[in-house]
Symmetry: C2
Subunit: 203 residues, 2 copies
């Protein structure tokens, strides 16, 4: 039975403004330190309203993450092109995403993953294992090397993001993306395609 009376769901402005405040807060402070109360205050709203719309704090986080970022689209996009420049395209893609407005969400995931265990699992099992490992698998030849090679690639990318966006180490934090790509890209490329010493050995 579909009851069709009463108020229709109007004014979703506050809902999205909560979402925006949450994204900004998560990106700036990470999952733990971003409090529902401060998010609600930034949105000019009662804290209980946040729970009304999104339930728990974790659901709010997931709601923030769903919208803007889709690594499943981005990484394959970094793959088409000459294979010997895949490393530079990867780091260039990462920087461009993080510098874009939608990049605040990426920063939110990352900052949270560094201090919160369930966000770390999110990043580790989804982004690294699912996305990055598949992408790397399409570049390299010996598939047995895929886990280690993608972990090494993650090493250099994560390190760059930590240094530039989290720790803000100069002069890297203010450096031009082209310079970073030229400096870091070849190293990622080496992780991808250079012969590795007994890399495949793993239990």
């Amino acid at each position: 039975m579909v009851r069709r009376s009463g108020r229709r769901p109007g004014n979703q402005d506050t809902r999205t403004s909560i979402l925006e405040a949450a994204r900004a807060s998560f990106a700036e402070k990470g999952f733990d330190k971003a409090s529902i109360r401060s998010i609600a205050a930034d949105a000019g709203v009662d804290p209980a309203l946040v729970h009304h719309y999104f339930g728990t704090k974790e659901k709010l986080f997931l709601a923030v993450m769903n919208a803007p970022i889709n690594p499943g689209e981005l990484i394959p996009q970094a793959l088409d092109g000459p294979r010997d420049q895949a490393g530079e395209r990867l780091i260039r893609l990462a920087i461009s995403v993080w510098d874009s407005p939608a990049g605040t969400a990426a920063l939110a995931v990352f900052r949270s993953a560094l201090s919160n265990e369930w966000t770390a699992r999110l990043l580790r099992e989804f982004v690294v294992t699912q996305i990055l490992r598949r992408a790397v698998g399409e570049i390299i030849d010996d598939q047995k090397e895929a886990p280690m090679r993608s972990a090494l690639v993650a090493t250099q990318i994560a390190g760059t993001m930590v240094a530039r966006y989290v720790l803000r180490i100069e002069p890297l934090a203010s450096a031009d993306p082209d310079i970073i790509a030229a400096a870091v890209g070849p190293n990622i490329q080496r992780f991808l395609t250079d012969p590795m010493p007994e890399v495949f050995k793993q239990p």
Copy 2:
């Protein structure tokens, strides 16, 4: 006037046991999530006693850091040897420190730096700017390139630590230090000694 009566300061065991509990807790949870109360509980002691001995929480953190780690000794030690293998020695040193019992302190600094601003400054201004930059300065030729080259080196080292010890990405988290050194070392070496494209340009 030297008053010489009353109880003499005995039994410093509890003080050091607090220190140990604090080091373990800071390493596992980072500065913010490690609570004085839980540290006191781990040490089998009242929370107020922690304040009695160490004052504020930040002072406790600094007290934990003072004892075991002294990068000023370690980094120069990584410098003596052939310059074309300095990269491998650096990453090898980092891993050995972090895997040592004293390494829990390093993990504590790092974990905290990723989610706490004043710890981040500690890491950025002291470890990177003071220690690493000087060490790199003794390896490279053109000193104008020291800031960017040491930032890049920090990129790869920090990334390896994040992947292995914080995010625990497999198979890197369980990999043998020799394999990691062989895989990552040459990339650090390239950051140190290979010609860089207009790296010195910085405001």
